[in-house]
């Protein structure tokens, strides 16, 4: 039973100021929060974990910005071109242009916040190389850049937690801080009014398991990607996409679900696949396998002439720094199809592993620029990467797809500043930002563009929400209380039903089984017959979950019950991924079907749009080609056409041609 709300807590939550709700405290959520505060809009910030432990912390390599410190002739225009080419032309180009143009000022802002970026001898920001570009474009703080960026933003938002709200006359309102944090709270659903407008949320305190509703003039989901759908990935345990899935089930359109990035280099593991950053290759790390498939000597003892540096020979221009989808496929082909993975004398077989080698690089350079990531290898693989080549394999890493969000194109092909349409979903009052949205990366994300897109998205989303809020005729604070009570009761009932589940199936085991199927059959290579089996497995799992046990009747920190709810939502996302993949008969970026090897622009240069199925339509997501939605008083017509007005689509050939037209 969900414990009933005491009157004391109701008073405590009530706020005399009109607030906006941000869910998720990674880079995107924190940036949005900060921008809202600067616009004078108070925020309630919800997070599954203390925001300082959000998944952004895992990003290692760096953040892209064409500052051109090295005098190579880099520019935001080239950054734009390389990003859309790397994404196989599936990204709408105006938001990408906005992001590339803003990147240098974003990195300067982060530097001003105190991010300890590595420096040049003149004391300027240092930049390193990354995948999909020939320029030094990536600013970095050792090999824990995401952590450093997250901490800087966390500090700025913490400062807002100590600042009082002001009324119209500029006098402070006692007891009302600009930011109220709700950490260890799980987003359950939106509170929608009769017009379908988001008026707040229902959330659950993960310590006391109390369920409560919260009023917000707008709601922003910055809740990250869906790695946990695949069980083991490079993602954190909180990346279940539960919140975005719940919003989708309430009507928010999902876009490009089938585009899941597989990162080429991670440490195989039983609980998770730990990322070994692309920056390792950016600093000179090389990928190879022994030429002799039965090579028994340890990697470091294999002479140079007996090594196959296959990425360098297949892609002479980009070498080890081809985009991730291409590198992952090459690694997979080498180890899986050709059976040329590193030989393990103990098991007498070729493991699904290749070498990632930094042993030829000076130790001082490694310690200054890569210590953070080499330390992870050392701790988790119990081997010394300074002495022995690391053994790595591809792993699920990033969701290019997510909630559909809008943008308003400006005259010069970028975004209209402060437009309420930017980052808006089709549910009025609901915004999405960061990995939770689908906006910036098309069919494949370039390395070091994720931190950038999270922060740029937040910088755009904050002002967009502020503009939306101004346009509201009626604040959510004036919405009938019954709306919130009904939503709260609905979620309490759902929770009680979950806790009461006492069947035979174990939800963790069920998740494990489905995830293994998704990982094996729905990642690097996709085949329609196999995808049919994946879809059948998803439905079988959904059915079996009905006769599972929640395992725990505890009234405090009931993690199994919470997991059941997240798993139900993960199943919905698994459907979006698998059905999207099944439908798209072409190969583009991270989506690769050997039976449809080529990109097919006439039929498939379009965004996959999915709305939730109605109760009468069964479980399959409904793909649509167009829809209308309402934003700040205007009706917007949306189609699945991709805005390619800035860079004309052309074939993507990293083996023979570059990502830009003018090097």
């Amino acid at each position: 039973m969900a414990s009933k709300k005491s009157s004391a807590s109701a008073t405590q939550r009530a706020s005399s100021v009109r607030r906006v709700i941000v869910v998720g405290g990674g880079l995107a959520g924190l940036t949005t929060t900060m921008k809202l505060c600067e616009a004078g809009v108070p925020v309630d910030l919800f997070s599954l974990v203390p925001v300082k432990r959000s998944h952004s912390v895992c990003a290692q390599g760096g953040i892209n910005a064409s500052v051109n410190t090295k005098g190579e002739g880099d520019s935001p225009q080239i950054h734009l071109e390389e990003t859309v080419y790397g994404g196989d032309f599936l990204a709408n180009q105006p938001p990408v242009k906005g992001m590339a143009d803003a990147a240098p000022s974003i990195v300067f802002m982060l530097d001003r916040m105190g991010v300890p970026f590595n420096r040049t001898s003149e004391g300027l920001l240092d930049f390193r190389r990354f995948g999909g570009t020939l320029f030094h474009r990536t600013a970095f703080a050792g090999a824990t850049t995401g952590q450093q960026l997250l901490y800087a933003l966390d500090e700025q938002v913490r400062r807002w937690e100590t600042i009082d709200c002001e009324d119209e006359t500029g006098s402070t309102i006692p007891g009302e801080r600009m930011v109220r944090k709700f950490e260890y709270w799980d987003f359950l659903s939106l509170v929608l009014d009769d017009e379908g407008r988001a008026r707040g949320i229902v959330a659950q305190d993960l310590k006391s398991m109390r369920i409560e509703s919260f009023v917000g003039d707008a709601v922003c989901l910055a809740t990250g990607g869906a790695g946990l759908v695949f069980g083991r990935s490079t993602n954190s345990m909180i990346c279940t996409a539960s919140a975005t899935s719940a919003a989708h089930q309430q009507g928010a359109i999902w876009a490009n679900g089938e585009f899941i990035q597989v990162h080429p280099t991670a440490i195989p593991g039983a609980d998770k696949l730990r990322l070994i950053s692309e920056s390792v290759r950016g600093e000179g790390g090389r990928v190879w396998v022994p030429k002799d498939p039965k090579e028994k000597r340890p990697g470091r003892d294999v002479p140079e002439s007996e090594r196959d540096y296959f990425l360098e020979s297949q892609y002479p221009g980009y070498g080890n720094l081809v985009p991730r989808d291409i590198a992952s496929r090459a690694l997979f082909k080498k180890a899986f199809h050709e059976g040329r993975g590193v030989y393990n004398p103990k098991t007498q077989k070729n493991e699904l592993e290749v070498y990632l080698d930094v042993t030829h690089l000076p130790r001082a350079l490694l310690e200054r620029k890569l210590a953070g990531v080499l330390e992870i290898y050392e701790k988790f693989a119990s081997e010394d990467p300074y002495e022995n080549p690391m053994r790595v394999f591809p792993a699920v890493h990033y969701s290019m797809g997510g909630l559909w969000v809008d943008f308003e194109r400006s005259q010069n092909g970028s975004l209209v500043k402060d437009s309420p349409r930017n980052q808006a979903t089709n549910v009025p009052g609901l915004y999405a930002v960061g990995e939770a949205d689908y906006q910036y990366h098309g069919a494949n994300r370039l390395g070091a563009n994720s931190l950038l897109s999270c922060i740029y998205g937040g910088l755009v989303c904050g002002p967009a929400i502020a503009a939306y809020r101004k346009s509201l005729k009626k604040s959510s604070s004036d919405a009938p209380r019954a709306l919130f009570d009904t939503a709260e009761k609905r979620e309490e009932k759902r929770w009680d039903a979950i806790v009461a589940m006492d069947g035979e199936e174990n939800p963790f085991q069920l998740h494990h089984e489905l995830a293994e199927t998704m990982l094996r059959d729905c990642t690097i290579e996709r085949d329609n017959a196999t995808l049919e089996k994946v879809i059948a497995k998803i439905e079988e799992t959904a059915e079996r979950l009905k006769s599972a046990s929640a395992l725990d009747v505890g009234k405090r920190a009931n993690q199994s019950g919470q997991f059941v709810r997240h798993f139900e939502n993960m199943i919905v996302v698994a459907r979006l991924i698998a059905h999207g993949a099944r439908a798209r008969d072409e190969s583009r970026g991270a989506h690769f079907k050997p039976a449809f090897k080529d990109r097919n622009d006439p039929d498939w240069l379009r965004t996959t749009l999915a709305r939730p199925a109605n109760a009468s339509e069964g479980a399959t997501p409904k793909f649509i080609r167009q829809f209308d939605y309402e934003c700040a008083g205007q009706t917007v017509h949306v189609t699945d056409a991709v805005d390619t007005s800035l860079v004309k689509p052309r074939a993507r050939k990293y083996d023979t041609a570059g990502a830009t037209t003018k090097h």
Binding site: V57, C58, P116, S236, A270, K272, L551
Partner: protein, 256 residues
């Protein structure tokens, strides 16, 4: 040959007001196994070695690569992250069986349930000491201040603190009867005071520490340095901030 097993003894407690008990579990060993994967196995089959069906163990985790700090607990008497604790490393020697692994929650923070504690005070401490740069705003103001590579190399290791709480758990001076704030927050003051524009507000942070007598009490037991998973030079940080505070105490009035 029977599958190799790993035994875990877990201290359980449903809430702070209820009494603690120990449950013992056994799971199959796998290569490169860490304590987290053992806990994950338990929840797939939450039955004790005595065959008793129990609720799965509650624990905190997020990144699983020792960079978020969530899964900190006391393992065989030592505070550390469960993700980076490989079970094989807990063997006393290369030979022989693995002795049972003892898992307990940290003791310096309020208990939530089982291995989960509430470390909110650490984040509140960061508020107390103003651990942020006072930004004029996020609008475009051009490049940040230039910094020497040396300055960056001093700051970067300090900034890797993930607020995991190991240093507080291990410190004999951090307790209910002491006002000592502990190494983590003091280290953040050192970090902020190093930054070219953070320096401008160094005195605010020092005053906050001195006001509450939060800076005195370090007995130089060195436990914090011993347990810090990121090898942050915490005792140096405490000494450095104490020096700054002394200077401020002696000469601060001159500046007023």
């Amino acid at each position: 040959m029977p599958a190799k097993k790993v035994r875990l003894k877990v201290k359980r407690q449903d809430s702070p007001s209820e009494s603690a008990r120990w449950d013992e579990f056994e799971v199959n060993w796998v290569p490169r196994m860490n304590v987290i994967s053992a806990l994950m196995e338990i929840r797939k089959h939450p039955v004790t070695v005595d065959g008793k069906k129990v609720a799965p163990v509650a624990w905190e985790s997020s990144c699983l690569e020792e960079v978020c700090g969530a899964c900190t607990m006391v393992i065989n008497g030592r505070v550390r992250q469960a993700c980076s604790t490989l079970v094989d490393s807990l063997k006393k020697s290369d030979e022989g069986d693995l002795p049972p692994i003892r898992l307990e929650p940290m003791t310096k923070f309020p208990l939530v349930r089982d291995l989960v504690v509430d470390r909110a005070r650490m984040f509140d401490d960061l508020k107390r000491v103003h651990a942020w740069i006072k930004l004029d705003g996020t609008h475009e103001l051009g490049p940040g201040p230039r910094q020497s590579p040396e300055n960056q190399e001093e700051a970067y290791p300090l900034s890797r603190c993930m607020t995991c709480g190991c240093c507080l758990e291990a410190c004999p001076q951090v307790n209910d009867s002491s006002s000592f704030i502990g190494a983590a927050a003091i280290n953040q003051v050192r970090l902020m005071n190093l930054h070219p524009s953070g320096k401008m507000h160094a005195s605010e942070r020092l005053d906050a520490l001195m006001q509450d007598d939060a800076l005195t009490g370090c007995g130089k037991a060195m436990n914090c340095v011993e347990v810090c998973p990121k090898e942050i030079p915490l005792v140096d940080s405490i000494a450095s901030v104490q020096r700054q505070a002394t200077k401020r105490m002696l000469f601060g009035w001159l500046l007023k």
